[in-house]
C-alpha cells in the first residue's frame, strides 16, 4: 500500500508514527513546502531567543524520515488532487496513492492593509518566518516594532522581539489581549502583565496602512495616529489551509475547514484529513468548529493514522485547552464562556470558571497551572461538581478529594 501524507506538521508526524506502530511495510511519502525535518511550532519562541535550542525544535529528531522509513518530498507544493484516479500532482510531478492524508495545517490570515509588501513586514508562523525576522533584526537597526494582533502568536512574537531589545507595541483590534482565550476581565489582566514587561499595548486599535518607501517606516491607524516601526509582525489569526482541496470533490466548509467523519475520513473514500485543516468537534458542547491547536493536531493525526491502516478508532472531539507563557507567567484557558461565572482573585493569581447545571463549561487561570488537567477532565467527563462548588477554585481542591469521596467519611470506616 502507498500512503501519501501532505504536511509534515504535528498531525502528519503523529499519523506516520501511528501507522508505523503496526504497519512496517507500507510505502509512505510525506510532502511539504518546507525544506526541513519536522519541527515543532511550540518551540519557535525558545528557538528564536536561543538558537542552540534547534535540537528541541526538531522534536522527533533530524533523522525522523529515515527512522520512520518515509520518503520525504520537501520543498514541493501540492497543486492538484485527483480523487478519481487517486493521483496528486506537485511541481509538475505526479504521484499515485492508495490512501491520502491531508494534514496541510493552517495559514496566516492577512487583513487587506495597504503596504503589506514593504520590506520588514513579516508573519510569524513557520521556522522560515522566525529565521527571517531574526536576520532582519540582526542586519538592520531595528529599535521599534509593531505586532498587529494580540492573540497567541502576537504575544509570542512580541516576546521574541523584546528579547532582542526591540521596543514593541502590540495592536489588537478587539478590546482585550488573547481575545480567543480570555474574556475582557482576564484579558485586561494579561495586558497589565505585558505592559509591566515593557511592551506597549493598544487595544481597540485598527491599523489602516503600513507606510514606508521600500522598508517599513511607520504604521498608520484608522484614526490617524502614527507609530514608528522598523519591523511589523502580522499576527492576525490563522485559518485552515483549504487551498489544497479547492477544486476537488473533497467537501470543506469555507473558513471552518475540511469536513471529516468520526474516523477522520473526508467525503471522498481513502482520503483522510487531520489537524488545523479540519473542522473539529468541541467535546463539551458538541459544536463543530476549527480548533487550531497543537494538542488537537496530534490527537487527530494519530486517529487518522490508525484508521488509514484499517484499525477503527473514533474521534470524539477535543477541547480548546491552551497554555501560553506571557513573560514566564502561565495563562491557561479551556472551554467556553457558558453559564454562571465564579472567580477567585488573589494578589497575583487569578482564576475564573464558568459553571452551568453543576457542570464545568470553561475556565481560565493566570499565573498558575494547578488543577488545570483536573478541571479539564471534570469538564470533559461532564461530572456533577455541586459538592465541590464552594472550594473548586481554592488550593484546597485536589484530585485526592475525588478519590476519598468514594470512601465514606465516617471515622469507623478508616481501615488499616
Amino acid at each position: 500500500m502507498r500512503i501519501v501524507v501532505i504536511g509534515t506538521g504535528g498531525a502528519g508526524v503523529s499519523a506516520v508514527e501511528a501507522i508505523r506502530e503496526y504497519d512496517k511495510d507500507s510505502e509512505i511519502f510525506m510532502i511539504s513546502r518546507e525544506n526541513t525535518p519536522p519541527y515543532s511550532p511550540c518551540v519557535l519562541v525558545d528557538y528564536f531567543q536561543r538558537k542552540e535550542e534547534i535540537d528541541k525544535l526538531f522534536w522527533k529528531g533530524e533523522d525522523f524520515y529515515k527512522k520512520m522509513d518515509v520518503t520525504p518530498l520537501l520543498g514541493k507544493v501540492v497543486n492538484k488532487i485527483n480523487t478519481k484516479n487517486k493521483k496528486i500532482s506537485f511541481n509538475e510531478e505526479t504521484l499515485d496513492y492508495d490512501k491520502l492524508l491531508i494534514a496541510a495545517g493552517g495559514k496566516v490570515t492577512l487583513p487587506p492593509l495597504k503596504g503589506l509588501n514593504k520590506k520588514g513586514v513579516f508573519t510569524f508562523k513557520t521556522l522560515e518566518d522566525a529565521d527571517k525576522i531574526r536576520e532582519w533584526i540582526k542586519k538592520g537597526k531595528v529599535e521599534k516594532g509593531v505586532v498587529i494582533g494580540g492573540g497567541f502568536i502576537g504575544l509570542d512574537a512580541a516576546m521574541c522581539l523584546t528579547s532582542y531589545g526591540v521596543k514593541v507595541t502590540v495592536v489588537e483590534a478587539l478590546n482585550r489581549l488573547l481575545p480567543r482565550m480570555l474574556d475582557y476581565e482576564m484579558g485586561t489582566l494579561v495586558k497589565e502583565i505585558v505592559e509591566r514587561n515593557g511592551v506597549a499595548v493598544v487595544v481597540n486599535g485598527r491599523v489602516n496602512e503600513i507606510v514606508g518607501e521600500e522598508k517599513v517606516e511607520k504604521v498608520k491607524f484608522e484614526k490617524g495616529e502614527v507609530l514608528d516601526a522598523e519591523i511589523v509582525v502580522m499576527a492576525t489569526g490563522v485559518k485552515p489551509n483549504t487551498e489544497v482541496v479547492e477544486g476537488t470533490d473533497i467537501k470543506f466548509n469555507g473558513r471552518r475547514g475540511v469536513v471529516v467523519n468520526e474516523y477522520m475520513e473526508t467525503s471522498v473514500k481513502d482520503v483522510y484529513a487531520a489537524g488545523d485543516i479540519v473542522e473539529s468537534i468541541d467535546i463539551v458542547t458538541g459544536e463543530k468548529k476549527p480548533i487550531l491547536l497543537w494538542s488537537n493536531a496530534l490527537l487527530q493525526g494519530a486517529i487518522a493514522g490508525y484508521n488509514l491502516i484499517g484499525r477503527k478508532v473514533k474521534y470524539l472531539g477535543s477541547t480548546n485547552q491552551t497554555i501560553i507563557k506571557v513573560f514566564n507567567v502561565p495563562v491557561v484557558s479551556d472551554g467556553n464562556y457558558i453559564g454562571e461565572e465564579i472567580k477567585l482573585f488573589s494578589r497575583d493569581v487569578y482564576k475564573k470558571m464558568y459553571i452551568k447545571n453543576n457542570r464545568i463549561y470553561g475556565y481560565m487561570l493566570i499565573n498558575t497551572k494547578k488543577n488545570a488537567g483536573l478541571y479539564n477532565s471534570l469538564m470533559v467527563s461532564k461530572k456533577d461538581i455541586s459538592e465541590f462548588k464552594d472550594f473548586l477554585l481554592t488550593d484546597e481542591f485536589n484530585y485526592g478529594k475525588l478519590v476519598t469521596k468514594a470512601i465514606t467519611l465516617e471515622k469507623e470506616t478508616y481501615q488499616y
Binding site: G10, K56, W294, S295, L298, A302, D334, A372, G373, Y399
Partner: protein
Amino acid sequence: MKTVFIRPERCIGCKHCEIACAIEHSKSKELFTAILEEPTPAPRIHVLPTIGIMTFPDKCRHCNPAPCMQVCPTGAITRNKEIDTVLINGNRCIACGMCGIVCPFDAISYKRSWEISIEREVALKCDNCVDRLMKGFEPACVEACKTNALSWGEIEEVMREERKKIAEKIAIATTSAEELLEKPVPENIKLWRDLGLVIKKLGEKG
C-alpha cells in the same frame, strides 16, 4: 508490569514518602546533605489533604496512552517499555506547561533540578525510581511507607489480595466470624487519627 499501588484508606499523611522521594532525586541521595543542596530537591509524590482527616498520596500513574507524552512538543516525554514507565528527559524540556495542563492527576510540577544543565525550571514527575529498580530495589516512596498505603507489585497480585479482602468482608457480613478476620487498627495509628479529628474540630470552630 510492576506498579506502585495506592490504598488511600491506609494513608495517615506522615509524608515520609515525600521526603524519601526528594532524597532519592537529590544529587547526594543523603538527607543531611540533600537539604543543603541548591536547588532544594523536590518530591515528585505529593500527599494531599482531602475530605475529613484523610490524606491521599498523589503521583504519576504512568498512564497508557499517556496524555502528557502525546502532547509534548519537544519529544521530551517517552515510555520506557521495559519497566512500563513514562519518563521526562529534562534536557529536552522547555517547560511550556502542556503536559501539566493535560494531566488529570496534577502529577507534574515545574521546578529546577540538579540534573538539568541549564538553570531553569523543567517538568518533574515520578520516574518510578528507575535507578533503584535497576539495582533491584523497590521505589523509595514504597520503601518509606510505614502503613503500606503504597505498595509495589504486579497488578494481578494486588488485585488478588483486594479480592480476598472483599471476600473476607462478605464472610463477616454473612457469618459471625468477626473476631477471626478483622484486623485491629494498631493503637498508635488509632491515637494519631483521633488526634487528627480533634485538631480538625478545633479548626472548624475557627
